[in-house]
Symmetry: C2
């Protein structure tokens, strides 16, 4: 079909990448090559949205490595021609996961937002870097506008707020711990942790593991993360937090940071932010809210009440690539105290961040991040915001939570499923077990749990085979 | 022109994003929208490659924020229609930097590789995540193949080598320090730096600032980075390294890590790797080679000799988004000791990295990285490698270094330019001053330097105005 056009263009031989731009007469070949690529990509996108297609044609690693139907992953010494590259592109999509498929349910992200996709195509065409204004004038300003809007939605005043888009929620959470440590002990930047007392962080048993990982990476140590008990819905118990803080102080340690979660990974639980903020305030601790998953609910007038108190946070992680459906990756760390990011991270590398440029160099964001070069993650979100408006995001969130409630109601009526909770979901997480006929009359207890877990494993394999 | 088609399709009103997929009859609107987007993007790409176009139509932050010619960055409550979104896309490119322009010279990256661009479009269409094999079967294997190839090129044996693609070279360097610390002091992961002696790192005065930044982030402290003197070509002096190590030991500190640079940021200098490796070996220190910039030269049989000794490194940073021309971002951290990445970083979050899946879970790379979700940075490089072959990358590097030598020769013949070094460049960095007529007869000294620096500032502003 379309690949044949490339052949037609050049009767002598199939063109190679050297025939594309910047080759002098490369415009036409480039346009033809991209036109055929776009045909492949768009037909993949359209197919992804059809329920009748498979989510994944699963193959084991060794099968794919052996080169299925001539699809070789090996890297050649000599160039392949453009026709073969298009076949490679088609095969790459063929053996991958259709993440835009209506039956693709991943941990906390699913679906393909086509406006977001358009944004990504433009971003990669612009192929630039977020470190300085002169190399990314438009994207730097878009990041500022987006961060400002998100801070406003969190509820911070106009005088407050800073932030940056990060490569994923774990990095955003890591930033929060890094900033909290620097805020209380600025000498850590130059002297290191050996100059500091033993610092303690607090997070709930249901929180994301990135808080522990951050403590490990930053040299605080994962054992210095106190895991606070949750109630049976997976929400942090404030009294437990307070007693943990007091115990840590009694042991001569220095509590400095509490992570509260707005939307836990498994249950979708919201920690009681105001109660936690009260405790942080009375003990003088940094309050971080990990709203990577739950942040999207701030866009909905119906559901934002679940994050009440978030405006009291010192920092917030919010991943638009989760509930708001932006393509991967799109994660923001929002910081209440302006200037802290820069003070904490700047190294003043003069060859890059000259302060005597002829424009306002406060827009050179590269010196306030951990990374030096930084991928442009903002444009897709900006374009989606233009396309939907704030209200569109609100409706999208409302619809998703209606769907969750619908699923909950359906499962509630069936004998072959068992809901983990009897009350309605707060987020879109609906936790349930499938109960096969053989287990329906078995009394609750460890043996039943063991067998239920086994069923789940088989279901997992089965799903990969079916879809 | 093309935008009019969108209007034609729907006589009643201009379509909105809700008319695109997954809307039931959204296929045609989606295809039309993308077709028009692709027209905009490709005509931008073609224009970028033309010398006659401007690299940048510079505007100050306040000018862009005020909304030039109706281009508003503000985020609306209500949706914009698809026609307006296409105008927004066009404006975004219009006010940005044409990084593919032949006259765009950025710090260590320039040009737009159109095969790499094709790879990025596919990557964003696949919209997936590198954390588990089941969600990214093909990309996970491509990463393995690429890392294996790069390790082989570095010169490690088949039994050695591990690695991961990271969001930028700073993160790759941070990984190296993190891994070195964990290798010597595995207890740091749980107990933190307070359980450790005072650790010292070594890097040269011309190295990238990310080594210091890593020390600050990881809780080691930037003051514990010893800056080793360089010779006048910007290469680390091995004898200075050795005496710095001995001094640190005498002061009761514990040296553990040396960063050698293969291709410094400003001079493009290569540290003497074998001499540094000898010192590291005799003192039992981790040798990291930051070849973010110089790694590309390994692809060239002519130039790889400049990195002799790199095979003795314990870890290597190599950014294909620099010398190899891959789109941003594409940076690898290569680690000689297999299993270390996982031991250092795993947190065993069971809900995500179940060990009882029905496939080989060693392919679930998410538990060996700092990040949890991870952007797919490998496909563009894989596709470029298919398109060029290893030999194509070699020729590309050779050509680039020939061009640098040509520039050097040209400047050497002119009275209006002064080369910083009298000998030929080792990498593609050619350092020079422009000498205006008024300074050509001025004797060397601080006053001349001051005035030369002023000239550079004005040239910088001028260049933004001209291009």
């Amino acid at each position: 079909g379309s690949i044949a056009n490339i052949e037609k263009m050049s009767p002598d031989r199939v063109p190679l990448c050297l025939d594309l731009l910047p080759a002098l007469s490369g415009e036409d070949t480039t346009k033809d090559f991209f036109q055929e690529l776009v045909n492949i990509l768009l037909s993949y996108v359209c197919k992804s949205f059809r329920r009748s297609s498979k989510v994944l044609d699963f193959h084991h690693p060794h099968q794919l490595r052996e080169g299925l139907e001539g699809f070789s992953l090996e890297l050649p010494d000599q160039p392949e021609n453009l026709e073969q590259l298009l076949v490679d592109c088609r095969d790459t999509l063929k053996y991958g996961v259709k993440t835009g498929h209506p039956r693709f349910f991943n941990q906390l992200s699913s679906g393909l937002d086509v406006i977001g996709l358009a944004g990504e195509w433009l971003t990669s065409t612009a192929n630039t870097n977020m470190f300085t204004y002169e190399v990314s004038p438009v994207f730097i300003l878009m990041e500022e506008v987006l961060l400002r809007k998100m801070q406003e939605i969190v509820g911070w005043s106009e005088e407050e707020g800073d932030g940056v888009f990060c490569p994923g929620g774990t990095m955003s959470n890591l930033y929060s711990v890094l900033l909290a440590r620097y805020h209380f002990f600025p000498e850590v930047k130059t002297k290191g942790m050996t100059a500091l007392p033993r610092l303690i962080l607090f997070t709930s048993a249901h929180s994301h593991y990135s808080v522990k990982k951050s403590a490990a990476v930053l040299g605080i140590g994962s054992e210095n993360v106190v895991v606070v008990k949750c109630n049976d819905r997976g929400k942090m118990i404030p009294a437990e937090l307070e007693s943990s803080i007091i115990t840590a102080k009694d042991q001569g340690c220095v509590p400095f940071y509490v992570n509260a979660t707005a939307g836990t990974t498994v249950y979708g639980a919201f920690d009681p932010l105001n109660a936690i903020a009260d405790i942080c305030e009375s003990h003088g601790l940094w309050l971080h809210v990990d709203a990577a998953w739950g942040g999207g609910l701030l866009m909905s007038n119906l559901h934002r009440v679940k994050l009440q108190g978030i405006e009291r946070a010192w920092s917030v992680t919010w991943n638009p690539h989760k509930m708001m459906g932006a393509p991967l990756q799109c994660s923001a760390i929002l910081v209440k105290k302006r200037g802290l990011l820069k003070d904490c991270n700047q190294m003043c590398a003069e060859y890059l961040f000259q302060t005597d440029k002829h424009y306002d160099t406060s827009y050179d964001t590269g010196d306030k991040t951990i990374q030096c070069g930084r991928h442009v993650d903002v444009f897709k979100l900006w374009l989606m915001w233009k396309a939907k408006g704030s209200e569109g995001f609100g409706s999208q969130v409302n619809k998703c939570l209606e769907n969750a409630e619908h699923l909950f109601d359906k499962l509630n009526q069936r004998p072959d499923f068992e809901l983990v909770f009897k009350s309605k979901p707060e987020h879109s997480n609906v936790c349930f077990w499938y109960i096969p006929p053989s287990l329906r009359n078995m009394p609750p207890g460890p043996e039943r749990n063991r067998r239920l877990h086994e069923v789940m494993l088989h279901l997992g394999s089965l799903m990969l085979v079916i879809y």
